[in-house]
Structures are given as structure tokens and as C-alpha cells.
Symmetry: C2
Subunit: 152 residues, 2 copies
């Protein structure tokens, strides 16, 4: 048996003997809800301290700000829509049914956020305060727009 | 008032009137625990279906596999250690106290995972089955090593 095959079998033994696409005992809907909530948690964990720095609630730390921007862009770049399969409203979710009734609009708004967050990551690395403030505002507008329409 | 300033004020009004670095009503420790659990949830949500495809539990879909690899690498690239501030064990956490007793080793293991996951993302995009299996195994080994030492 090759080393490659042994390594594969080893990795596959690492907790992977569970149904595909589901975490632990979660149903597919529960797994999807946790997926999107995890993504949004990480978005907020980076966007919020950036806002706090711009607002003066936290001292501006350009290196930390750039890192938050980089990580925000990375999270925003994943397949977030994967966390919204049809009818995955669920009891533990603030996602409105309108998401699936207006899927094309929801998708476009999500992609708008993803595009603005990617730009914010680049602008944050650049360090130009005026550009940062403008792009932070543009990104926040996509958050608010989508939450207003599709989040309880 | 400039459009830039208006956009900033608008964005700052979008739910940012909360303590910095904390999500909603969470304490800093609770926020850190949710941050790291969210990151690990997203890691698993990508790594597990890759394993299921390699194992034959899911049909191999090269495009989906590459996307999982890309997203895994993106998540692994964020500042995961930020979710492990000193003494953030907490009731809802499976993180062992050994993390903070052996911080340098924990950090090195985390960085090892991050490096292997980045390689897996690249290899998954390349599409070479043998290289994918090898790198999947190498990445899974870093998951298991760190979980064995530092996760309840």
C-alpha cells in the first residue's frame, strides 16, 4: 500500500465517518443554518472592529485594521449562498422566507456585498483614510440593505 | 458634509452602536469562543465533503471539490488564533487549558494546519487526483494532531 493511500485512509478516519455535508448530528437544514450563521459571525467579527476604529471607539491601528479587512474579504469570498438552500428557514434562523421567494434579488444583494467587501479588503491594505471611509460605507450599505429585506 | 462622510455615518449607524470586538451581548470571552467555533464550523463544512468525495460517499464533482478547497483555504487563512485569547476556555468550549499552557506548540500546530490547507486549496484547483489525495491526507493529519492534543 502506497504512502499516499495510507495518508488518505488516515485522513478519512479522522472523524469523517459521518453523513456527507452534515456536521455531526445536524440535519442538512441545520447544517446549512450553522454554516451561514458562522459565516456572518465572522463577517461581523471583522467589520465591527473596523467600524469601531473609524468611529474612534477603538484606537486606529492600521495593521489590525488591514488584517480585519483582509479577513473580511476572505470570509466574504466563500460560497455564502451555499448556506441558504431552499426552505432552510428553520427555528433557529432569522432568515426571512422572502429570501427564497425573491432568490434572484437576494443573490444579487449577496454578490453586491461580496464585491464591496473584497474592495474593502484591498482598500484597507492600501491605508488611505478617505478611501477606507468611503469603501467602509459602501460595504455597510450592502449589509444594511440585505438585512432590511431578508433578516428578521 | 461630503458624500464620503455621509456614507461613513450611515455605515456606522448600521448596528455598530455596540461594544467593540464583541458580538451583540457577548462578553469578550464568549465572542472569542463563537469566533473560533464559527471558523472551525466552516473548516469542517468544506473539509468533510471533500473527504466524502474522496471516500466515494459523494460522487466526485471536480468543480465542487475545487470550490470546497478554495473556501477551506480562505477560512484557514484568517487570523484563527484571534479566537483563542488567554483563558478563553469557557463552558461552551471544547478547548483544553493545555492550549494556553503550551501556547507556542498550539500556535505552531495551527500554523501547520493553515499552511497545509492553503496547499490543499491550490492542489484541489489543479485537479491531479494523486496530489489531491496526498495533500488531503497531509491536511487531515494536522487537524487530528491538534484536536488530539488540544480539543476535548
Amino acid at each position: 500500500m502506497s504512502r499516499r493511500r495510507l495518508a488518505l485512509i488516515f485522513a478519512l478516519g479522522c472523524g469523517l465517518a459521518i453523513p456527507p455535508l452534515q456536521a455531526d448530528e445536524d440535519s442538512p437544514v441545520e447544517a446549512a443554518i450553522k454554516y451561514r450563521q458562522s459565516a456572518m459571525k465572522l463577517v461581523g467579527a471583522n467589520f465591527k472592529p473596523m467600524g469601531a476604529m473609524l468611529k474612534g471607539e477603538l484606537p486606529m491601528d492600521q495593521a489590525a485594521f488591514a488584517r480585519f479587512g483582509k479577513d473580511l474579504a476572505a470570509i466574504a469570498g466563500i460560497d455564502i449562498l451555499r448556506g441558504f438552500p431552499p426552505d432552510s428557514e428553520g427555528a433557529d434562523s432569522k432568515a426571512k422566507a422572502d429570501i427564497w421567494l425573491n432568490w434572484d434579488d437576494f443573490r444579487q444583494q449577496m454578490e453586491g456585498f461580496q464585491a464591496e467587501a473584497a474592495k474593502l479588503g484591498a482598500v484597507a491594505a492600501g491605508g488611505d483614510p478617505a478611501a477606507i471611509k468611503e469603501q467602509f460605507g459602501a460595504t455597510g450599505k450592502t449589509c444594511k440593505g440585505c438585512h432590511d429585506d431578508y433578516k428578521e
